[in-house]
């Protein structure tokens, strides 16, 4: 099996073709070029012709480079020793630690049987009102952060990871700037979270094929911990780089692109990764938060578009804030009925009023006359943005709900909020008597 082949008959992009026999599909090979050894994976068999994708790229490979087939698929160590460690996309240590050879498991394993999934029920608290109050994050959810390049998405990811009560954090970096990599590492370190984290980092300077491995490496490790009963949070940044790497390979393999150069199986490829998010019956869970940068701020671009069709909602990061309208947590109703009895009412009505505020802002911009009601909305909208939307706000859900009531009470009469009277009686600051007493300025809701 471990026969060495010397005749490379084609080199194109990062794909090489050799003539060889008895090679298992998708298995690994080592390609040695002048002292440097790179891993490669079999991506096509055609009689004796074997095409391999070279992880380190094909640069420097000569037609007589040595190819040694390993006869096994790509694997990663899932031993407890991975915690606190940092690896490259292909699993080599990026820190100074030793190479891990225990508990090796195949990456890209089979799908979870849907019959063994359960309906998710646990909320993940983040301390961010735009998430906790308005679009609650749920354990086992798969949720992307749609973002324009340049937004503070990595800072947001890191913050959620630090606040979330999870057992293990797995970070997969794809095309990460070196600074961002250091930022993640330092943040984990500063919060004492490094010891329960593992990182697979592909930086912008690393070979592009390694980028393709990152989600599978990260998710294989996550899956192994989750089966062992751990609650795992996986952070993937940036999945658009992953999709671009897919595109590059597809082009090399002369596949017919479907949409803006992306391969026809982009949906399937992304879904295979995102669907690893799971709540296991009788074991742990995997929650996936992923960054998807939107080229040209265009949600209909194939990457965010296909992602939106796969994930359970999205957080839309724009202007340094989580936009309340573009964002949606499709699982929020599984949890927000059991937090506090005013949660849903505060959520629905504050958002509705904020939507009204946005309309008023438009009217203002177009020079239409402002009514008394419009002026109330303007006051409300500004406070809402400062207290709820500003990403520097960091308060528990209950405090955020209280702050919501306070904001409403500062700007409106109880009846103008549309909130049911029994909740108003329970939560309106100073009680309803106080509220009705100052009623009488005659403004009505629009």
């Amino acid at each position: 099996m471990k026969k060495v082949y010397h005749r490379i008959i084609q080199i194109s992009g990062n794909v090489i073709t050799v003539e060889a026999e008895d090679v298992p599909y998708n298995s690994l090979a080592e390609v040695a070029t002048g002292g440097r050894v790179s891993l490669a994976q079999v991506i096509r068999l055609d009689r004796r012709r074997v095409s391999l994708q070279v992880f380190a790229g094909s640069r420097g490979i000569s037609t007589d480079s040595e190819v040694r087939f390993l006869g096994r698929p790509m694997q990663v160590s899932a031993s407890p020793d991975v915690l606190g460690r940092i690896f490259t996309g292909s699993g080599s240590p990026r820190d100074r630690g030793p190479r891990l050879r225990d508990d090796l498991i195949d990456i890209g394993g089979p799908s979870v049987n849907p019959a063994r999934r359960i309906i998710p029920r646990r909320m993940i608290r983040t301390g961010i009102p735009m998430i906790d109050v308005f679009n609650s994050l749920v354990e086992s959810q798969k949720l992307p952060i749609f973002s324009i390049p340049g937004e503070p998405y990595n800072a947001l990811l890191a913050r959620i990871a630090m606040q979330a009560e999870v057992d293990v954090i797995v970070i997969g970096g794809m095309g990460l700037k070196h600074d961002d990599y250091l930022f993640f590492r330092n943040t984990l370190d500063a919060h004492g979270a490094l010891a329960r984290s593992v990182m697979f980092i592909h930086t912008a300077a690393d070979p592009v094929v390694e980028c393709l491995l990152v989600p599978d490496m990260a998710l294989a490790v996550a899956e192994s911990f989750a089966i062992g009963g751990k609650r795992v949070l996986v952070l993937l940044t940036d999945m658009t780089n992953f999709a671009d790497a897919l595109k590059e390979i597809a082009v090399t393999m002369e596949q017919i692109p479907s949409n803006r150069g992306y391969p026809g199986d982009l949906y399937t490829q992304l879904a295979a990764r995102y669907e690893k998010a799971v709540d296991f019956e009788g074991a742990g869970s995997i929650t996936i938060l992923a960054v998807t940068t939107m080229p040209g701020d265009d949600v209909t671009h194939p990457v965010p578009d296909n992602t939106g069709y796969i994930t359970e909602g999205q957080y839309y990061l724009s202007g340094g804030r989580i936009d309340p309208f573009g964002s949606l947590s499709r699982l929020k109703q599984q949890v927000n009925g059991r937090t506090r009895n005013d949660h849903r009412a505060v959520m629905d009505n504050m958002i509705r009023l904020y939507a009204d505020y946005r309309e008023t802002r438009e009217k203002l911009a177009m020079g239409f006359r402002m009514s008394g009601w419009d002026r109330k909305l303007l006051q409300y909208g500004e406070r809402f943005e400062a207290r709820m939307m500003d990403l520097s706000v960091n308060i528990p859900l209950e405090e955020a709900l209280d702050l919501g009531w306070q904001t409403l009470a500062e700007c409106f009469q109880p009846a103008e909020t549309g909130i049911k009277s029994d909740l108003v009686a329970e939560y309106w600051p100073g009680g309803t008597e106080a509220a009705t007493a100052k009623d009488g300025n005659g403004t009505t809701p629009a």
């Binding site: 298992p24 599909y25 979870v112 049987n113 019959a115 017919i256 199986d265 879904a271 296991f280 239409f368």
Partner: protein
């Protein structure tokens, strides 16, 4: 009978045909063979200890291309391939209802029992319990003449008398030579014997049918005219679906396709519902899986799951099996239609099926059409929806399959091949709009863009009137965006408020509310009448504020009523209150 070539034991050969792998590209395996192969024949690729199911999809000279229904990792050039001589088929018999199958009809709960959390490659399980006895009642006697699809007896399956039928592919007329006495038998036991004069065959409770071939054991296809009540107001009143009709629900992500399909699967007045979760999220199926066994079906008093079959090949399950799952689903639908039942097949999402076709077409290096979909996409989509319809069976009864397909257009743009090909063949288009979804106006079916060719529950004049109000209201709304409220004449403004009123109290419906979520046909007729009465009344208002607060109040009254059971006292009281409010307003006018 134009399908005489399928005899149920489809082309089963005793000789073992073998082949050898010569190429692997993703889930496509190229195989050299020495004898003959059949297009769409099943085969097994033997990879080490496991045998992977595959299907012949192209033959060229000495080699055949097979799509493997599993990951092909580990396959090598030289691996053995066993051809079965049989087309990709499903097993039909009592016990299908309540099941949860993957795209190849493997029962998922049983797979989980054998393999645990993960799907195991190469593990296949018989779709029906072969040991379980069923209480058989004969319906024929020796000497009777029968043909394909005729019932030789029945067994009780939940709420139905499940017919045991002469296999759909047996050609011509047969005489019953023997029938089993009433009693309990397993599905594999012979319950009747029939002869066509040349050969005698045993009828068991189970037959196999090749999924890609439509079942045509019926007399004729009829025009679908009777409304399938879905209890969704915007559907039944504005864009109705007929029993045996076809419809599609295209929409961008998050617009509410799945929520709408789930509502249809719960509330539609169909006998059997087949839910095909095709290439979408596993989590969404889990909701059905866990909740339908608990939810009551008000029409039968039994659990919802008792009339439901789930075909679940979600997005991370093998792509070729996803492609097959659509055909598996429609074949099961045809089977229950043959019993004279009304079947509703809901496929979410047909775009994922089309994408599976595209992936395979790409590997076959076929000349691509638009957006790289294969050129034959349109005819396959047409062929799928054509398997729906209302038919008259040989027995004279009717049975129907209503097909509803979700479509997930790239970028939410309906000008793409799957949406366009689907719109050519369906009878009803429920277009979901991003704007309506963002405004949380659910179900987000667009009231101006959607259409249906089937008859509505409601009065045609009323409907035309309501449509005009919606259209004019929309025009006023557009105009107001430019000239502002101040620049809009009061009469136009009132018209706009009327269209908003209609939208809020009738078109919008809270799917998650037990009462508002399901509006019976009778209730729809009554409440639509009432809404149209309001629309037809020429109210006079002093100014816009008065008009606005009038409609706000009216809207509150109507919405409150939507949340109350119609026979309750509260509803009656509210009804009187509304009537008084309206009379007062008319008097002022």
């Amino acid at each position: 009978m134009d399908d005489g070539e399928h005899d149920g034991t489809f082309g089963m050969t005793t000789e073992r045909k073998l082949g050898e792998v010569v190429g692997v590209n993703g889930n496509m395996v190229t195989v050299a063979f020495d004898r003959h192969v059949i297009q769409n024949e099943m085969a097994y690729v033997v990879v080490g200890e496991t045998r992977l199911k595959a299907e012949v999809i192209r033959v060229r000279g000495e080699v055949a291309d097979l799509q493997v229904f599993e990951s092909s990792a580990g396959a090598r050039v030289g691996d053995k391939v066993e051809f079965t001589g049989e087309l990709l088929s499903v097993m039909l018999g009592p016990g299908l209802l309540t099941q949860v199958y993957d795209g190849l009809q493997n029962p998922l709960p049983e797979l989980a029992r054998q393999a645990g959390f993960f799907l195991r490659r190469g593990l296949y399980v018989t779709p029906l319990d072969e040991a379980r006895p069923w209480e058989f009642t004969p319906a024929v006697k020796p000497g009777d003449s029968v043909c394909a699809g005729a019932a030789v007896g029945t067994v009780p399956e939940g709420i139905f008398r499940h017919r045991i039928m002469v296999p759909f592919g047996w050609p011509g007329h047969w005489r019953v030579t023997w029938v089993a006495a009433a009693g309990a038998y397993p599905i594999t036991a012979a319950v009747a014997r029939v002869s066509d004069g040349r050969e005698e065959r045993a009828v068991t409770m189970v037959q196999r049918w090749p999924v890609r071939v439509p079942v045509t054991a019926y007399r004729e296809k009829l025009l679908p005219v009777e409304t399938l009540v879905t209890q969704q107001r915007i559907v039944d009143t504005f864009f109705p679906v007929a029993k045996g009709g076809t419809f599609c629900t295209p929409g961008p992500f998050g617009a509410g396709k799945t929520v709408l399909q789930h509502a249809l699967s719960r509330y539609s007045e169909a006998d059997v519902v087949i839910v095909a979760a095709c290439g979408e999220r596993a989590g969404e199926v889990v909701e059905i899986l866990r909740e339908y066994p608990e939810l009551e079906d008000p029409r039968t008093g039994r659990k919802l799951i008792d009339r439901t079959i789930i075909i679940c090949n979600t997005s991370s399950m093998p792509v070729a099996a996803r492609e097959a799952s659509i055909y598996t689903s429609v074949t099961l639908a045809e089977y229950y239609r043959q019993m004279g039942l009304n079947v509703l097949l809901l496929a979410d999402s047909t775009s994922r099926w089309a994408q599976a076709l595209r992936e395979m077409s790409g590997r076959l290096e076929e000349i691509p059409g638009e957006e790289a979909f294969p050129a034959y996409l349109e005819s396959l989509i047409a062929g799928f929806y054509e398997r729906g319809g209302l038919v008259r069976l040989h027995s004279g009864e009717t049975g129907s399959i209503t097909i509803g397909g979700a479509v997930s257009p790239a970028g939410g743009n309906f000008e793409e091949p799957v949406t366009q090909a689907t719109l050519k063949v369906v009878g009803c288009f429920l277009g979901l709009s991003r704007d309506r979804a963002n405004a949380r106006r659910y179900p987000a079916v667009h009231p101006l863009d959607s259409w249906s060719k089937y008859p509505s529950l409601s009065d045609a004049d009323d409907l035309a009137f309501a449509r005009r109000i919606l259209q004019r209201g929309h025009e006023v709304d557009q105009m107001m965006k430019v000239v502002g409220e101040e620049g809009t004449p009061l009469a136009d403004f009132a018209l706009y408020l009327k269209s908003e009123f209609l939208d809020a109290v009738y078109l919008q419906q809270n799917t998650f509310d037990a009462i508002d979520g399901a509006t019976s046909a009778a209730r729809q007729k009554a409440s639509f009448r009432r809404v149209v009465d309001v629309l037809r009344t020429p109210f006079l208002f002093a100014d816009k504020d008065e008009a606005r607060s009038f409609f706000q109040r009216l809207r509150q009254l109507f919405t409150d009523a939507n949340y109350l059971p119609m026979d309750g006292e509260k509803y009656q009281a509210l009804d009187r209150q509304t009537a008084e409010f309206l009379t007062a307003a008319k008097k002022e006018a």
